[in-house]
C-alpha cells in the first residue's frame, strides 16, 4: 500500500496529465453539447502542455535566466544543472498560441451551426439533418 502511494506521489504530475488527457478525450467523444466538446478539446491540449513542462523540471534548479550575465562582474561559465531546461517551455509557448487559435475557429463554427439549426446539441442537429 505504501509502495503504491509513494509510486503515485513520486510521479504525480504524470498521473494527473494522464487523468486530464482522459477527461478531455471523454468530453470530446461522449458529451452531447458542442461547447462542452470544445472545453474538452482545450483540456486535452493543456494536459499535453503539462506533460512537456513537467519534463523540463529539475530538482534544485532555478528559472532559466542567466545569473551574473550582465554588469562588471559578468562571467560566462554556465552550469546547465543550475537551470530548468527551457526547451520544452519554448515549444509549449507555441502550443498555447495554436490552442487559442483553434479555440477561436471552433467557437466560430459552433456559432454558425447554432445560426443554422438553432441548437447546440449534437443529437438534435443530426435529427434535423436527417429530416431534410
Amino acid at each position: 500500500m505504501t509502495d503504491l502511494i509513494s509510486m503515485v506521489v513520486a510521479k504525480y504530475n504524470y498521473w494527473i496529465y494522464i487523468t486530464l488527457m482522459m477527461i478531455g478525450l471523454y468530453a470530446i467523444i461522449a458529451k452531447n453539447n458542442l461547447v462542452k466538446k470544445i472545453v474538452g478539446m482545450n483540456i486535452f491540449q493543456t494536459a499535453i502542455i503539462l506533460f512537456y513542462v513537467s519534463i523540463g523540471v529539475k530538482k534544485g534548479a532555478t528559472i532559466p535566466i542567466l545569473e551574473h550575465g550582465h554588469g562588471p562582474d559578468a562571467h560566462h561559465v554556465v552550469h546547465a544543472v543550475d537551470y530548468i531546461n527551457p526547451l520544452p517551455h519554448v515549444l509549449m509557448l507555441t502550443a498555447i498560441v495554436v490552442g487559442v487559435a483553434t479555440l477561436g475557429v471552433a467557437l466560430a463554427l459552433a456559432i454558425r451551426v447554432y445560426n443554422n439549426y438553432n441548437t447546440l446539441e449534437e443529437d438534435e442537429i443530426l435529427a434535423q439533418i436527417r429530416e431534410k
Binding site: 506521489v9 487523468t19 523540471v57 498555447i96 447546440l120
Partner: protein, 81 residues
C-alpha cells in the same frame, strides 16, 4: 519546485476540469474553464516556466474566457449534459 503546492494545485486542476464538464449551464462551464486555466498558470510558475505562465495567464485565462463568454451569449446557455 515546492511540491506540497504542486500536489494541491494539481488536485484542484482535476476538480475544476470535472466541474467545467459536469455543470449544467454553459456560462458556468466557461467561468469554471477560466479558473482551470488560471490554476494551470499557477502550475507553470511553480514549475519554473515563467514565460509559459504569463502567456497562459493572458491568452489562456484571459482571451479564452472572453471568447467562450462571447460565444455563449451569441448562442444559448442551455445544455443537457
Amino acid at each position: 519546485m515546492i511540491w506540497p503546492i504542486d500536489l494541491a494545485i494539481l488536485t484542484l486542476v482535476v476538480v475544476a476540469a470535472i466541474g467545467a464538464l459536469r455543470v449544467k449551464d454553459l456560462l458556468g462551464a466557461s467561468i469554471l474553464f477560466g479558473s482551470y486555466s488560471f490554476m494551470m498558470c499557477l502550475l507553470w510558475s511553480i514549475m519554473g516556466a515563467v514565460d509559459v505562465a504569463f502567456t497562459e495567464a493572458s491568452v489562456g485565462a484571459g482571451v479564452s474566457t472572453v471568447l467562450f463568454v462571447a460565444a455563449v451569449f451569441r448562442t444559448s446557455r442551455r445544455t443537457r449534459d
